[in-house]
Symmetry: C2
Subunit: 459 residues, 2 copies
């Protein structure tokens, strides 16, 4: 039976127990994040001593608060958590999020067991312990206890991220926000005392805002449950997964991080593959793929054509396509080849890669991209633009994004460079074209998505 | 016999043949780059029609120029190149750099052969054809025909880059400049009509400004010569190599890019390994390693200790160390472990990774780093700092860079995030500490350098 997450993402009244007046304290930053995030409901601080926190009336306990409360966020020290949970239950707050650390991850197993037994017994729903909270860009809900000046929040979009580790979650959230990638929901679930990765995965599988799900997991509590849910979700939308604690040593570190058992690498990889999850080896790979999918790329075939103004980049991209498991190099139809031969000078070899050479201009790109779009022998178009060359203007961005609007054929771009390039890449990305920094990254991301598309048909 | 490159890097008078008044033309940008680059000698334009270019007196031919000229840069159309080279020879200019394309890379083999025969016969030295030119950050020489507003130039430092492809060279030069990495020399050599990758490698092996050599090569003209020189150079300093055109398809593309024969992958890999070259699979990996080496990292042993304020990052880094070929996880000595147990709360598990947990502050980092420095069981220190957490201040940058000044033990840092993080990473990097964006990148770079250090002893 799936968990109802409504109160975690669409609460009307939130109480923060352990709220603080000290700006460096977790209990302060949570209240501030909720307010600064533009939460439309009411946030109520609870503190043993303070009367007001961030201008809001503070109560001694949840029991002193008049009216119903939907969500309780708890950041009191570990020994007091169970008592606070009991008060929440008494108050009728069934949904709680516990950020407090100091449970099984440091050997305090009994403390965590008692908490689990209690929330289960009273049919409460609990995210945490030892977690960072949730962020929902569409509902303006931000409970993260990391200040906004240190951690930029991503804008509303299609990527959701389930993250066992708060640190991994926050650091990557910050990075991808600065790269302009767009998020739906972020959930850090820590020790998974009750609600676990599978529950969240199932929820996100049904969430309309979520177009692609990223997961960083250290351990899986219930393998059968995970497999069953993962397979069902992957049928519907892509799930990208990074597993931490693959080595025996990493496993030991996992035990003292979130108290999970990491388990054998091969077993995990087998489960991911069978369930149709896209497995990645690093965080940057994860968000390379996710942000591409978030832009609505739709792969129907695997024949890939490369357009470039840098010969070396064409070669490196070709190497990557040939090296890939699921992509192949396309060939122009005779008609396309004939047309292009008439349009380009003899310096341009009409082939794949189509090297427009260093004096390529915007018009050349337009001609090349349109030829690839209309050629039925081509499924995927990789457009490499090195803005450093003298004849390429900023208007090539408009040419590529116009092509993207006109066709269903997936177009991905590759550009490497400093500020001038980064600004143009950002503009292009904003129009819905995935832009990568290097040939290898782009092809590896497309390759893995292709694997998923083929796998999905067999799920 | 090694080629004398003095006139390519330290010329007093340069002539640009094919200089132009049109700012979008290659022959214009070259003159402008030389001037804007702060060249201390004289640059003289040659143009069939113009009297002045960029305010400088222009001549009809090189023969009209009074006095000696050290270097001739040629950017006239391919059919006129040989004639211009003859005029240079007549004028006594023995060193020429030809940027013009349109030779063997588009099938015009005879044109290129004739040119090669001529420069060889008259003992001229020729870089190019179909190349981008040279950049020397220490001597303020910049002949690149890519405008500075589009392509940032790196500051003076220890990385030199030999690049067959102009596009690969310029795009990455621009990127690494924006990342703050520092360069000695950059040489794009194109078709290698005469001077080839081996000649340049040999020269950079002796160049005092060059601390690490990066190479992007598509084909090698003379395998025996390359192997002999590469081995000799690698004994002295690290050489990082990326090979383009590894696949058969990539090979075809190479033929029409720089007219080189790419050759079998296995043969290349064997040669690189035997010669002690550090092989990389991508451009970002290349500069991850090179910039680390450029900072003077000195690996003496392989026992690696991880300090982190993010458990998940500790786990991912541990996985990467275990997965590496040449690194191993270190263990604290009993003394260090005992000392640290007294200094840290019970939330901190005294182990490797040393997870300072999310409320780690700058003082905790200081304690942890100093313990790793003084512990003889530890050779390499990986410091992960996630600045998003509330208690870590910007002053941790000072703690790490002070540690770097105090010890010979290699310290590398890992930080992921948006602008706040990037600014602090940049500050840290400026003090000579290599900073990586992700755990996997950092460990892979250290691992490959470790491989080199072990290999070097056997060369």
């Amino acid at each position: 039976m799936s968990v109802n997450f409504n109160n975690f993402f669409k609460p009307k009244r939130i109480v923060v127990i352990g709220a603080s007046r000290n700006p460096r304290k977790v209990g302060h930053v949570i209240v501030k994040s909720i307010v600064d995030g533009g939460f439309e409901g009411e946030v109520i601080p609870v503190n043993k001593k303070a009367d007001r926190i961030l201008g809001k009336v503070s109560y001694r306990t949840v029991l002193d608060i008049p009216g119903d409360v939907d969500l309780g966020i708890i950041s009191v020290p570990a020994p007091y958590v169970l008592n606070v949970v009991k008060e929440c239950n008494k108050k009728g707050i069934k949904d709680i999020l516990i950020v407090t650390a100091g449970f099984s991850e440091i050997g305090e197993k009994e403390l965590e067991d008692a908490l689990r037994n209690y929330v289960n017994k009273y049919k409460m729903r609990c995210i945490g312990v030892n977690c960072l909270g949730v962020y929902d860009a569409h509902n303006n809900l931000d409970t993260l206890f990391l200040p906004r000046y240190k951690l930029e929040r991503p804008r509303a979009g299609g990527i959701s991220f389930i993250c066992q580790s708060g640190a991994v979650g926050s650091a990557t959230l910050d990075l991808v926000a600065s790269q302009g990638h767009k998020f739906a929901k972020f959930i850090s679930y820590g020790n998974a005392t009750q609600i676990d990765e599978s529950d969240i995965l199932e929820y996100l599988g049904q969430d309309e805002d979520t177009k692609v799900i990223c997961m960083y997991i250290e351990g899986i509590k219930d393998g059968d449950k995970f497999f069953e849910i993962a397979k069902r979700v992957a049928k519907r939308k892509p799930v990208v997964v990074l597993k931490g604690g693959l080595s025996e040593r990493g496993e030991k570190a996992t035990m003292s991080h979130t108290g999970s058992l990491a388990g054998a690498k091969e077993v995990y990889f087998g489960v991911f593959k069978q369930a149709g999850l896209i497995r990645v080896d690093s965080l940057d790979e994860m968000f390379n793929i996710a942000s591409m999918i978030g832009k609505g790329i739709n792969l129907k075939g695997n024949r890939t054509h490369i357009i470039t103004n840098g010969g070396g980049y064409g070669i490196l991209t070709t190497d990557a396509v040939v090296d890939s498991k699921n992509l192949e190099m396309s060939e122009f139809s005779e008609k396309t080849a004939g047309d292009l031969r008439k349009k380009f000078s003899k310096n341009v070899n009409i082939a794949n890669p189509l090297d427009l050479v260093a004096d390529a201009n915007t018009e050349n790109y337009k001609t090349a991209i349109e030829a690839c779009i209309s050629d039925n022998n081509i499924d995927i178009i990789v457009v490499i633009v090195l803005y450093q060359t003298p004849m390429v203007g900023a208007d090539v961005v408009e040419v590529i994004s116009e092509a993207r609007r006109k066709t269903d054929k997936p177009i991905v771009a590759v550009s490497t460079g400093g500020d001038f390039t980064k600004n143009l890449s950002m503009s292009l990305s904003e129009t819905g074209v995935p832009v990568f920094g290097f040939p290898k990254d782009s092809i590896e991301a497309v390759d893995k998505l292709m694997w998923y598309e083929l796998k999905k048909k067999k799920l």
